[in-house]
């Protein structure tokens, strides 16, 4: 695993699996397409708006019980005893278990990603699991939790990573609060770089901890048939959950079937099984009845992942002509009380986004007594972008250059962070140039500077970015089957986490087989019946799966045409598909309905298999982005009204313009939350507990916080090297530069730079007052 992204999206210590080489069939890049690229509504839109889509939390099985988890209320405590007798005696309560329950595997380490025991005798964060129950209904389950008595030895805590390395800080784990050695990266001669600079700027930046909180709560339904377990889990990766649940339970993979048809969002927090998954399975085993275990919103804010807070220092040198001469970056972060990637990929943008020969970075991951981090939509990138893109803005100002122009002077064609291997395509220049044109950057800038001196100030901002992954890769296997009547079934293991994966894949099949996407029946995300797929994360689902699906469609088409060639007595190379028919071109045009092919009817179906081929060797496949926004700031109240946003994206070929646009707008919306409203608040001095573990106080952006005026500008560079569909990922890049673009626009409007997220009115109004020389 030398690519930094791999550790995040695959299971630690397990090799990234390979799929067999693709069959030798013609897979030329598409030219003109008839279906692919169109703005088509989703093939499963009906299910999602009618209420018929069954999400895991909607499941109901005969004799099903409801599980619930008791969690530690302290940031650091040892569990002395757990008295479950009163709970166990309650009517309607079927199972109560804790770390003190004899038998069970409850004390075994729950391996990778979740490194602590299922019920940990030492709870190192608020929200650690202490006990669990299964009861007739969720209310009874909560009653039972309240009837459990736990004795804790409450220990001193540290809840702020900025203080955790002080010598007298309480130890989260033996061996100190630094997770591992400081990670360092260096190229060129940083000191020399600063000497060569005309201007050197330095600044501190901080990003607060952001929490995924997908709309559907984390959870699952567990059912045993003898020694076989079925889990209906809200997950981004059924095969991940299968592997982790099987390992935790000590059963073979074939005894664990994980199904996830519809799921209500994950953003990285649902790539792995949770403790709740294993707990649900154990409760179900003990009760000998199915158990539905859905967490509460409070639990999801405490215990199932976050984007770690980051403290960053940047020192950058630039020449008057805009050439960057040196970048020095120091970052710290925390994944909470576990080794959970508190500084994962935090410096990648510094290493790779702009041409700069002299770069030095240092990142230090620190333990604190708080809930674990998980991958969150472009791990590390929005943080680093917050720092670097505001710094670029400040540098541009310092050398009196337009901020778009400064970025254009430093466009890379090779991946400097990977020893200068080239990118298959670098759309960054086009994103900036075409984005600026379409946004009317210059005109808006001119208009604003001539405006009068009101307390309502307008400003514009830009920020660009790239995402370290987004090229996808093996393994993936897909199967496309043509039934005797010519209708089609697609079988793939990937989850559709709301990004439109099913729709896009149906369009790929439709493109190859000349049918309508809505006519493709799809079987997906079920370890028992669909093909192996890695989790849907890292913006890699479309570039991973679409080439495999295309290969399967090409394979099945070749077989079908061969059958038809025999019956039609025409060479297969002269045949093609159109409207459910096999059509022979050439001198004697003929056509046969697919459903009329006798050999197909005798066989019942033809089956094509597609594998994801390897990525181009020695090349990097990355998406690029530039975003532009305009804001209006009320300098008396600190309120910011974001007027419009434009996202210019190089994510390779657009497979469905409608769902692509939705990803861009969704990424911008999430980025607005990151920059403007969201923040985990830990009571670091008094209790160490989270002070805003609900959606009232942890503020997601609402319909009133985002502009209705959003534009998506795809920069489609025709990447023929990346893979056989030319697609790169769009989900993560869409959110990377949003927050700094807003911060830069606020600076442009007010002359005040806010270097810490979120820029809420309280913070901004005091910054504005300070700038005016008031207190």
């Amino acid at each position: 695993m030398n690519d930094p992204k791999e550790a995040l999206y695959y299971i630690d210590g397990v090799d990234v699996p390979e799929t067999p080489p693709a069959r030798d069939l013609d897979q030329e890049p598409w030219g003109e397409t008839t279906v692919v690229g169109k703005p088509l509504p989703r093939v499963d839109g009906y299910e999602r708006v009618s209420g018929t889509a069954v999400y895991p939390a909607d499941m109901s099985l005969p004799r099903m019980l409801y599980g619930a988890i008791l969690r530690c209320p302290h940031p650091n405590a040892v569990v002395r005893s757990v008295d479950t007798s009163a709970a166990a005696a309650m009517s309607g309560v079927h199972v109560v278990m804790s770390g003190f329950t004899p038998s069970s595997r409850a004390l075994q380490a729950h391996r990778q990603l979740i490194e602590s025991n299922l019920f940990n005798p030492h709870c190192r964060h608020e929200g650690e699991t202490v006990a669990a129950v299964a009861a007739d209904n969720p209310y009874r389950a909560q009653d039972a939790l309240r009837a459990i008595t736990v004795e804790y030895d409450v220990l001193p805590f540290v809840a702020d990573e900025r203080r955790a390395l002080e010598p007298d800080a309480p130890q989260v784990r033996e061996g100190g609060n630094q997770v591992s050695d400081t990670q360092q990266y260096q190229r060129g001669d940083i000191e020399q770089g600063f000497v060569e600079a005309d201007v050197v700027l330095e600044e501190d930046y901080r990003c607060e901890c952001e929490i995924h909180t997908p709309m559907e709560l984390h959870g699952c339904v567990a059912q045993w048939d003898g020694d076989s377990l079925t889990l209906w889990e809200s997950t981004q990766g059924v095969y991940n959950v299968q592997a982790q649940a099987a390992a935790a339970l000590g059963v073979p993979l074939s005894k664990v079937r994980v199904v996830n048809r519809y799921m209500g969002g994950g953003f990285g927090s649902k790539l792995a099984a949770g403790k709740y998954t294993v707990i649900a399975a154990l409760l179900a085993k003990e009760a000998a009845r199915p158990v539905k275990l859905v967490l509460t919103r409070e639990e999801t804010l405490l215990a199932v992942g976050n984007r770690p807070p980051s403290n960053m220092h940047l020192k950058v040198g630039v020449k008057r002509d805009g050439t960057l001469t040196a970048i020095q970056f120091t970052g710290t972060g925390t994944g909470g009380s576990q080794q959970a990637g508190g500084t994962s990929l935090l410096d990648w943008i510094v290493r790779d986004l702009y041409v700069c020969p002299n770069v030095r970075t240092e990142t230090t991951d620190i333990y604190i007594n708080a809930g674990p981090a998980r991958p969150f939509r472009a791990p590390g990138h929005p943080q680093c972008s917050w720092a670097l893109e505001q710094m670029m803005d400040a540098l541009a100002q310092a050398i009196d250059m337009d901020p778009v122009e400064l970025r254009l002077r430093n466009i890379p064609t090779v991946s400097q962070g990977r020893n200068n291997i080239p990118y298959t395509t670098t759309g960054l220049r086009a994103c900036l140039e075409e984005g600026a044109r379409s946004f009317e950057w210059q005109q808006t800038k001119d208009a604003i500077t001539t405006e009068s001196d009101s307390h309502i100030r307008r400003g514009i901002g830009v920020a660009s970015g790239l995402w370290v992954a987004g090229g996808g890769g093996p393994p993936s296997t897909a199967i496309v089957k043509i039934y005797a009547d010519g209708s089609v079934n697609l079988n793939m293991g990937a989850s559709d986490i709301g990004t439109g994966t099913k729709t896009v894949m149906a369009m790929v099949v439709a493109e190859e087989l000349a049918i309508a996407p809505g006519d493709v029946q799809i079987e997906w995300a079920d370890t028992g019946s669909t093909q192996y797929a890695t989790g849907s994360g890292g913006s890699k689902t479309v570039p991973t799966e679409s080439p495999a699906v295309r290969a399967a469609a090409i394979d099945v088409k070749a077989q079908l045409l061969e059958l038809a060639a025999g019956e039609m007595e025409v060479d297969a190379s002269l045949l093609s598909l159109a409207d459910g028919k096999v059509v022979a071109g050439g001198d004697s045009p003929k056509e046969v309905e697919i459903s009329a092919l006798r050999s197909l009817r005798r066989r019942g179906s033809v089956t094509g298999i597609g594998y994801r081929g390897p990525n181009p060797s020695g090349k990097a496949v990355n998406p690029f982005v530039a975003q532009f926004c305009e804001v209006e700031v009320n300098t008396r109240t600190g309120e910011v009204n974001i007027l419009r946003f434009l996202g210019a994206h190089d994510s390779g070929r657009v497979l469905n313009l409608l769902t692509y646009r939705n990803q861009v707008f969704g990424g911008i919306t999430m980025g607005i939350g990151y920059g403007m409203t969201e923040q985990r608040v830990l009571d670091v001095d008094q209790t160490g507990k989270m002070a805003n573990k609900n959606w009232h106080d942890y503020k997601l952006p609402t319909a009133l916080d985002v502009p209705a005026d959003m534009t998506c500008l795809p920069i489609d560079l025709n990447d023929t090297e990346a893979n056989t569909t030319g697609a790169k990922g769009i989900g993560e890049p869409a959110t990377i530069p949003t927050a700094p673009a807003v911060a830069n626009a606020i600076y442009n409007a007010t002359g005040v730079r806010v270097t810490g997220t979120p820029i809420d009115p309280t913070k901004l109004v005091s910054a504005l007052a300070a700038a005016r020389g008031e207190d």
């Binding site: 109901s60 209904n137 997908p214």
Partner: protein
């Protein structure tokens, strides 16, 4: 595999009985005190009967035009009863404390958080869930508009958004963009599909007024 409803007998078996409908309050630890007025005795001021939190009462809910009899604990929310008792899982739950709007249903035509409404409070009201917007197997106009404009990603907030729009259009068939934004501002969408939701609301208004065809 979603079953409409498990049989009630298993649950009823271990409760201490079914109270008649009327004034109910409860004492004991751990649950809220609930008073429920029936029509018959609405003028009376005092509870006349005390019951346990876990006792079941028989109530009648009018959901999507149908009368549904259901046994409920007084503390059960409408969202719980719709989802877990009546099998109407189109109504989603994101927070169970009035913060997200995933559970929005129409109560007497107004969008309401069903997690903040007790089932017993919803007797005598006209409740409409997303399933009730269907015309048989066909989508209603607001649902159509959401598909056409791709006004969702994961779809988990979507029923709530659709009912918020439906309720808004009931009051105001021609909302401005600002009115739409306010109309759906009580419904969070973590996937961030708001811009498409605004477009869908506009489209739904058109469709309801019989403006078909391409938009």
């Amino acid at each position: 595999m979603a079953h409409d409803r498990r049989d009630h007998d298993e649950k009823a078996a271990d409760t201490s009985g079914i109270s008649r409908r009327g004034f109910i309050s409860r004492v004991g630890a751990g649950a809220a005190v609930v008073a429920v007025a029936s029509k018959a005795s609405a003028e009376s001021a005092k509870p006349t009967e005390t019951m346990q939190a876990t006792e079941l009462s028989r109530i009648t809910l009018t959901v999507n035009g149908q009368q549904r009899q259901v046994l409920v604990e007084p503390r059960w929310t409408l969202s719980h009863v719709l989802r877990e008792e009546l099998g109407l899982t189109g109504t989603k739950v994101g927070c169970e404390r009035g913060e997200c709007g995933a559970c929005t249903v129409l109560i007497d035509g107004k969008p309401r958080y069903s997690c903040m409404t007790l089932a017993v409070e919803a007797q005598d009201a006209d409740i409409v869930t997303v399933e009730g917007l269907m015309d048989g197997e066909d989508l209603g106009p607001t649902q159509e508009a959401f598909v056409e404009k791709d006004a969702f990603q994961c779809g988990y907030c979507t029923s709530g958004q659709i009912l918020a729009v439906e309720g808004m259009l009931g009051d105001n068939p021609n909302p401005s963009l600002d009115e739409i934004r306010i109309g759906v501002s009580g419904n969070l969408c973590r996937c961030g599909a708001y811009v498409h939701i605004f477009q869908a609301a506009q489209r739904a208004a058109e469709l309801k007024q019989g403006v078909g065809g391409e938009s």
